[in-house]
Every structure is written in structure tokens, then in C-alpha cells.
Amino acid sequence: MLFSYAMMAPYQGYERLNAGLSAEGQITEGEWEPINLDPYFPVIRGESHMRQFFMIYEGSGTTLEQQMATRTAEKLLQLEHNRGHPYTAIRLWWNQWEPSPAGYEHQPDKQLYRRPLITIHE
């Protein structure tokens, strides 16, 4: 039933805020640098952000969110090591910001809401 209904139910609503995942890697004690996640999502922006959302929020509940975030961070740490970035820790953030007609990443009032998801160490 759910499968059948899902074929009839595209685009039921919209999000009032833009949202996406961001990550930082620890270079040395206390020094962090942003990790470019774009290479991990070589698809159009809508699909990319849906993938980021479901990567963390596929289930529901705080415990599951923590599990998903931990899983993602551990995998990202391993992949970044393979790419020659020997981070000693990774931390993930879930960001939300006001949309603007000036552009998707445009944040006119610097209204970026950042929520820490997880920090994992090597």
C-alpha cells in the first residue's frame, strides 16, 4: 500500500528553510578545517540535499539520528584518510538557513542555524 501510495505522492510539501550537511576535519589539536562534501554527491543539488538528509534522518528518533551520524562520520573519516587527509577527528553539523531569491547559498542576514550532530576521533 505504502509503495503504491508513494507513486502517487510526489511533492506534497516544501521546507521553509534550506538545509544541508557540513563536515570539518581536525588537523591538529583544536584546529579544524571544512571538508568539501561535493565530491561525495556528484548529482544535482536537489538530489544531493535529499541524500544528505536521508543519510542522517532516514529513521526517526534521537538514538537513530546519532547512529546514522556516527556511521556517516566514521565512513567519512576513512574516506578522507584514503584521499590523503589524515584528520584525527571529524565532526558533522546539520545547517539550516533562510532561503533567498539571490541564490541558494546566499544568506542575507547570516541566519545560519548550525546544530552539531557528532564528533568522532580516530
Binding site: M7, G13, P39, N82, S100
Partner: protein, 312 residues
């Protein structure tokens, strides 16, 4: 009266019919899946292998000895599987080893869903999956195919098939449009044009959509909202009505083109070619017979359109 109705009902769903409508759809659908596959080729390592942020949905629930079948594979295996997928879409479109190709696509569709697309759950991928299931037993390869070329010496040769798969596909498309349109009557987000404005400047918004968002006054989004709802409401009915069908095809095509251009959601562009499923197969055969001599010479005379039979 009752018997006549039942006979017509039975004929409408289950009569034997020419395969041309379904064959044309098969070609278009296979080509569409092939093009979609091409768009994913650069991303195979990070979307479908252990080189990416990819997590199997099924693996945690399976016995450990078989988990490796569902966990993200190495890059080389990922490329090999994807090559098989792309090859299968081509075989579907060309109508060669069609059922084997569709079976491969069904298995790989399920595999890619649990591997990667569960993080991008979309209505069109569900629609594609059901379409493949129906095509598996449809006989859509019985004309306009390499199968018929190897079997009968001509891609135009044809054999009759059961019309049920065509009816099921058109019924599913109808249900999809009805579901999408009727729920917009009460969905809170669809009661005004804000949903379109915020979609234009949201994650799905394309450069043309952002441009429109900068220039259109807000009241125009309310009108666009009405236009979307009216289009989706009337489309599934008009596609079945002979006198309204052409208008429905034009409006439906423009509708899906605008979604693709403004929101980048191009996967529903598979639907306009699928509108051919709403035509009667005998009418399409008649139209083709008038234009393609090789089809006119076909030996399946019982399926000549009544107007041709009369003129003889």
C-alpha cells in the same frame, strides 16, 4: 445488455491486440533509462561503491555470510554492475534478449535501491520499478525489435500480444496523476502559491527558477498553483478522451518540461512518451500501416483497422 457490457469490459482489459503501442513505449522507456544511467556514470565510485558515503539498507538485517552481496562493493565491481545495468537498458530499448534484460533491470533496481537510492526515495523510481515488472510479461519485444529481426527477418514483423500490460501501465499513470492532483485539494502546503515560490528558491530551484523568483510578483504564484492543480486534475481524464487527448498531450508535455527546467526534476519526462499508452493499439497500427509499407504488408490481417477492412 449486461453480457454486452461484460464482453466489452473483458475485451478492453484482455483482448489480443497489436504490439506496436507497447513496443514504442518500450523503446522510449529503455532509451530514457539509458540516458538516466549515463548521468550517473561519473558518480559510480562514490554513489555505488565503497569509495563513497554509501550504506546498504538491507545488510544490517541479513545473516553475516551473505552481507557482502549487499554492502557497497569495490569500484571495479561497481563499474561492472553498472555496465550490466546500462547494457540492459539498451537491450530493452533495442528489443533484444528483452525479458532477460528486464529481469536484470528489476534485480539491479532493487539492488541499487537498497544500496544508494533509499537515500533518494522518489516516486518516479517506484514508478519505473512497477513499469519494469509489467513489461517483463508484456511481449513488448514482438515488433520494432532486434528480436523480430532475428526471428522473422524484419524489425517491422509483428506478433499479437495481450493488451492487459498496456492497460495496467496506463491505469497506473492515471492513478498517479489522480493521486497527485486530488491530494493537493487538501494538503495545507498547496493552498496557496508559497510552495512554488519556496520551491523556486529552494534546493530544487534551477537558475531560471531563481530568476523568476527575483522578477515575478508574489500573486503570480497563486495563479501558477491553480494552473498546476487544474492541469493535474484534468490530465488523467483528458488523456482517455479522444477529442481532448491532443490538448492533454501538449499541456502534459509543457507541464513536465517546466518542472524539469525550473526544478531540475527531469525524471518525469518519461511520462509524455508514455501518453501513447492511452491510444488504442489498433488505431496506432492503422496509422503506421498508412505510412510504413513494411507494416502494411504484414500477414496479421485480422488486426487491420475496420476502416481499412471496409475500403478493401
Amino acid at each position: 445488455m449486461s453480457k454486452s457490457f461484460l464482453a466489452r469490459w473483458d475485451s478492453w482489459w484482455c483482448r489480443t491486440a497489436p504490439p506496436h503501442v507497447l513496443a514504442i513505449f518500450r523503446i522510449a522507456f529503455g532509451a530514457f533509462l539509458f540516458v538516466e544511467a549515463l548521468t550517473y556514470i561519473p558518480g559510480v565510485p562514490v554513489l555505488f561503491s565503497d569509495h563513497g558515503l554509501v550504506f546498504s539498507q538491507w545488510s544490517p538485517f541479513l545473516p553475516s555470510p551473505i552481507r557482502f552481496l549487499f554492502d557497497p562493493p569495490s569500484v571495479h565491481i561497481a563499474y561492472a554492475l553498472f555496465a550490466l545495468y546500462a547494457l540492459s537498458t539498451l537491450c530493452l530499448s533495442l528489443g533484444v534478449m528483452t525479458r532477460v534484460a528486464i529481469a536484470c533491470l528489476i534485480v539491479l533496481f532493487a539492488y541499487y535501491w537498497q544500496l544508494s537510492f533509499h537515500m533518494f526515495p522518489s516516486s518516479y523510481h517506484r514508478l519505473f520499478f512497477v513499469t519494469l515488472l509489467i513489461l517483463l510479461f508484456s511481449g513488448s519485444h514482438k515488433t520494432f525489435s532486434l528480436h523480430m529481426f532475428f526471428k522473422r527477418g524484419s524489425v517491422y514483423a509483428w506478433e499479437p500480444i495481450n493488451i492487459l500490460p498496456q492497460r495496467l501501465l496506463s491505469a497506473q499513470i492515471t492513478a498517479t496523476y489522480i493521486g497527485v492532483s486530488w491530494q493537493k485539494m487538501w494538503l495545507p502546503d498547496w493552498q496557496n502559491g508559497k510552495i512554488l515560490y519556496y520551491s523556486f528558491i529552494g534546493k530544487w530551484g534551477s537558475p531560471p527558477a531563481f530568476w523568476l523568483a527575483q522578477h515575478l510578483p508574489l500573486w503570480t504564484y497563486d495563479w501558477m498553483n491553480h494552473a498546476v492543480k487544474l492541469t493535474e486534475f484534468f490530465l488523467p481524464f483528458c488523456l482517455w478522451m479522444k477529442h481532448w487527448r491532443l490538448l492533454a498531450v501538449i499541456v502534459g508535455t509543457l507541464f513536465h518540461l517546466s518542472i524539469a527546467i525550473l526544478l531540475g526534476i527531469w525524471w518525469f519526462l518519461v511520462l509524455p512518451p508514455a501518453y501513447i499508452l492511452f491510444l488504442e493499439p489498433e488505431e496506432v497500427l492503422h496509422w503506421l500501416q498508412q505510412r510504413v509499407p513494411a507494416i502494411r504488408k504484414s500477414e496479421n490481417a485480422p488486426f487491420l483497422h475496420p476502416s481499412i477492412a471496409t475500403s478493401k
